[in-house]
């Protein structure tokens, strides 16, 4: 049984179950895991956020009939897409629903939410059920050749990521079929586009024989998957380089490494557990005497919430200490603050020092 049939069967089984329940004059139910930080556990050995058992049931009643109908119709669309080897973006799915009369979605947020439900219902990522996101996956430059296929002929295309000049290769929204060739030593994932541009411009990947990836904020699913496959298949270490603030640590880094609460049902494949954190750390702010900004109230709240509730932070005393230090300093520093020591200080000093000194990393 191939992957495609597996998906089609899963959908069909669920639909058959609903059908037969109705025929028995009983109220059909759709059961799916609750997708939230409160319902995930983190085992450092496994390396990613895993769902706990808590489930939510959507029972067909007068009040839920609209959502129930929409869920079923979206399942129908998904089945159709998988059967015909087609894909629809989240936005396209929303527009397709406009043909459904009363059952159409009035906002894309509604269709996105139901799509997440369907995804978790089958414990399959949305790419496998035929839906892809709008967002770009991230930018790549460096010692990597991506092997893709021509959409028409199916012929292999080799893409050399060193040959984009001052530009980059873009991670596509589905990365499952890509193959890689590389002789790089490591992957450096960078939060901001500004810092990434600097590293590309000055050919950092040549100097340190690495692959540069721009996360552009919280990494998208496909970006996470891309790094994951690359790292797994080519046995490459991954280093993350973000701003020295709660958002960079808890939202960007943590999601890259162990996944998110909302995507808990697919985290297994959509995170990069072997990632290590380069910086900016709280210690960096002091050691490099970086210019800072004051922490905002929301930042402090975010930190306290993280220390208390984030299963990842709870498992790592290093992170708890880092977060507490940050709150004590009441300061945060951006990646580009390193420019205070000269524009290329990051290339000539900061990154080499980090690479040499694993003790300065955080898990």
């Amino acid at each position: 049984m191939n992957k495609k049939e597996e998906v089609i069967n899963k959908i069909k089984d669920q639909a058959t179950d609903v059908y037969q329940t109705i025929i028995k004059r009983q109220k059909p139910e759709l059961e799916m895991p609750i997708r939230a930080l409160s319902n995930v556990t983190y085992d450092p050995k496994k390396g990613f956020f895993e769902l706990n058992g808590a489930m939510k049931k959507r029972t067909l009643t007068v009040n839920t009939i609209k959502t129930f109908a929409q869920t079923l119709r979206l399942m129908g669309l998904s089945q159709q897409l998988v059967k015909t080897n087609d894909i629809a973006t989240k936005r396209e799915a929303y527009y397709i629903s406009k043909n459904w009369g009363d059952a159409s979605f009035s906002e894309q947020t509604e269709s996105d939410a139901i799509m997440d439900d369907v995804e978790s219902l089958f414990m399959l990522n949305r790419e496998r059920i035929g839906f892809i996101p709008e967002e770009k996956g991230g930018d790549v430059a460096g010692r990597l050749t991506v092997i893709d296929k021509d959409p028409d002929s199916g012929q292999e295309i080799k893409i050399d990521c060193t040959k984009f000049g001052s530009g980059s290769y873009s991670v596509p929204s589905t990365v499952e079929e890509l193959q890689f060739e590389t002789k790089a030593d490591f992957i450096l994932a960078v939060e901001t586009t500004g810092m990434y541009q600097r590293l590309v411009k000055h050919n950092y990947f040549k100097k340190s024989n690495c692959i540069l990836i721009s996360l552009g904020g919280v990494p998208t699913r496909s970006c996470r998957r891309f790094i994951r496959r690359l790292s797994d298949e080519k046995n490459l270490p991954v280093y993350a380089f973000t701003d020295g603030d709660p958002y960079g640590w808890l939202n960007i880094y943590r999601t890259l490494k162990v996944g998110s609460g909302n995507a808990a049902h697919i985290n297994k494949y959509f995170c990069v557990p072997n990632t290590k954190f380069f910086g900016i750390t709280a210690k960096d702010i002091i050691d490099y005497n970086l210019p800072t900004h004051p922490l905002k109230d929301v930042d402090i709240k975010r930190v306290q919430d993280g220390i208390k509730n984030d299963p990842f932070v709870l498992q790592h005393p290093e992170w708890q200490k880092a977060l507490q230090d940050l709150v004590k300093m009441k300061k945060r520093a951006e990646q580009q603050a390193l420019a205070t020591h000269g524009l290329n200080f990051v290339i000539s000093d900061y990154l080499p020092q980090k690479l040499e000194n694993p003790k300065s990393w955080l898990p």
């Binding site: 069909k12 007068v62 609209k66 129930f68 109908a69 079923l72 119709r73 399942m75 009363d102």
Partner: protein
């Protein structure tokens, strides 16, 4: 001799009428015109607008009373014509029994003739001073005579009079006396010119006649207003109201002034005889009891009772147990007719009404009736409309000072699905009717525009409103429930097919299987909800389609409606 002051503060006697009567006796010294000028505010002629209303009201009251006494279903034709600036002609024609020739001048052109004052009987007439005041007013403001036509039967001649009033002697001045051709079986027609003003609104003649039609559902009124708009209020029942009976006063309602007056008027030889013949519910034993308590001999001549003795008698009466007055002398309209009256003039969706059992205040029997019209065309963002009636006469003025209004405010309307803020008239799509029928209606002032605040009356009004309110609440709640339920049903109806479509798509079902799914689902989910329907209780007479027709009949054209909606 008794002075006017003796009567101050007595509600029992129409003190206005007494005053008028006293003054009328002195006509040789004061001209009746002067009397009229001085008292026009008491007589309902304080301003031009009110003069128009009072004149119509007096004529209508007379006509209705005459028809009812003669057992005729009333049919009134009323016309107001604008003759010039501030000058109007009022024509009121009825199908009453007609008036015997020699009475015509006296009834229309002698002030206070045949006045019903101090009669303890439920009647409209208690309210006014009589049509002759309007004739007087007409003469004073226009110098024109009143034109009267009346006939008492098919084979009888129709008499036509033009009448004025001799303002020195208070006697009729006959200007014309003819026999005319009048194509009418029996009836009376009066034509008066007067200085007046016409205005629409809640205190207009239009409104007065509409409310008259509501509270007199056995009456047909055809009314043409000065704008030449015709309103036809058709009767809703062929049953005449039962004629109320006149009763003697009950001792509990007697105050010192009236007692003294009665003592001086009576033909009784002894106190005992006085009490047993002039009052309700006093037998020989009770009379003796009262006299003993007052320390007055039972054999005393009524005329020789001093003021101080009279006061003791009053006190004695208060502490003596006396049976409540007979109540069969008060005739209510009855809940069916109250409802019919409301229904025929108000386009609402729910009507409820009630008639309370008789009760007594100050020795006067009375009955309270109430009705509520709800929803339909009535707007929900305004205060409810209050229709006040006393002995089948609409009260249009002084709503804020009226005991009826206060009783409405004191009733907790929020329990009945109508919003109400603290101590104010409730707000909602409702019209509330309250009718007090009594042998003696207590007004706050001589203008007779608002009911006085007697706790017994307030209590009865509230009980009546609560009774109606409870039924209204169950309707309003039911309506709310049905609305919600209907909404859920249509929700169900909307989305069930999509479950079918989706499953058909997912499982390649046949059309048959698809409709099986839809039917099962519909069945199943509706079963859980249970059936809903408004019980057909016959109150849902409101119909959107009928609305324009009814309006047309009532002479409400679109433009007028738009204006009144603004």
């Amino acid at each position: 001799m008794t002075t006017l002051n003796d009567f101050s503060g007595t509600e029992q006697l129409d003190s206005n009428a007494i005053k008028a009567h006293e003054l009328a006796k002195k006509q040789r010294e004061i001209s009746i015109a002067e009397f009229f000028e001085k008292n026009r505010h008491l007589l309902g002629f304080d301003n031009k607008r009110k003069a128009l209303m009072t004149t119509v009201k007096e004529a209508v009251d007379n006509s209705l009373d005459a028809c009812e006494e003669a057992g005729i279903l009333p049919e009134l034709n009323i016309e107001i014509i604008e003759m010039g600036e501030d000058r109007f002609r009022i024509i009121v024609e009825d199908n009453g029994p007609g008036i015997v020739k020699k009475q015509i001048p006296k009834i229309f052109a002698k002030l206070l003739y045949g006045s019903k004052f101090h009669s303890l009987k439920q009647s409209r007439g208690q309210q006014g001073i009589g049509i002759s005041a309007s004739v007087m007013y007409s003469q004073l403001t226009t110098g024109k005579p009143a034109k009267i036509t009346s006939t008492i039967g098919v084979n009888q001649p129709s008499h036509y009079y033009e009448l004025g009033i001799d303002t020195q002697k208070n006697t009729p001045k006959i200007l014309k006396d003819e026999i005319v051709e009048w194509d009418k079986e029996h009836g009376t027609k009066i034509e008066l010119d007067l200085e007046a003003a016409y205005q629409k609104g809640i205190q207009s003649v239009d409104e007065y006649l509409k409310q008259t039609a509501i509270i007199n559902p056995h009456t047909t009124i055809i009314y043409t207003n000065p704008k030449a708009e015709q309103f036809i209020y058709a009767r809703a029942t062929d049953n005449l109201p039962v004629q109320p009976r006149e009763i003697r006063p009950h001792p509990y309602g007697i105050e010192i002034g009236i007692l003294i007056k009665m003592l001086s008027w009576t033909n009784a030889k002894t106190l005992q005889q006085f009490f047993t013949t002039e009052f309700e519910r006093i037998g020989a034993k009770t009379a003796k009891d009262i006299c003993e308590k007052a320390g007055v001999l039972i054999k005393t001549k009524p005329r020789s009772i001093s003021r101080e003795q009279a006061e003791r008698l009053i006190k004695a009466i208060r502490v003596t147990k006396i049976i409540a007055p007979p109540t069969d002398c008060v005739k209510p309209l009855g809940p069916q007719l109250v409802e019919k009256g409301l229904k025929k003039e108000i386009n609402a969706e729910f009507f409820v009404s009630t008639t309370r059992p008789p009760a007594v205040y100050r020795g006067n029997p009375f009955i309270i009736e109430a009705g509520i019209a709800y929803g339909g065309e009535l707007t929900s963002d305004n205060q409810i409309k209050i229709l006040r009636f006393a002995n089948s006469v609409p009260l249009l003025y002084q709503q804020g000072a009226c005991g009826i209004t206060d009783a409405i405010i004191e009733t907790g309307w929020r329990n009945y699905g109508i919003s109400q803020s603290q101590k104010s008239v409730p707000v909602g799509p409702a019209t509330v009717l309250v009718h007090m029928a009594s042998v003696w209606v207590p007004f706050t002032s001589e203008a007779k525009e608002a009911l006085a605040h007697y706790p017994e009356i307030t209590k009865e009004i509230k009980l009546a409103l609560q009774e109606c309110g409870r039924k209204l609440a169950s309707y309003v709640n039911k309506k709310k429930r049905v609305n919600e339920e209907t909404k859920k049903r249509s929700y169900l109806e909307k989305y069930v097919p999509h479950i079918g479509i989706a499953l058909k798509e997912l499982l390649a079902l046949s059309d048959q299987e698809e409709s099986r799914i839809n039917n099962t689902l519909r069945d199943m989910l509706e079963d859980i909800r249970g059936k809903v329907e408004l019980e057909p209780d016959g109150t849902q007479t409101y119909s959107e389609e009928l609305k324009p027709i009814i309006n047309e009949e009532n002479g409400v054209d679109d433009e007028q409606e738009r204006r009144s909606n603004q």
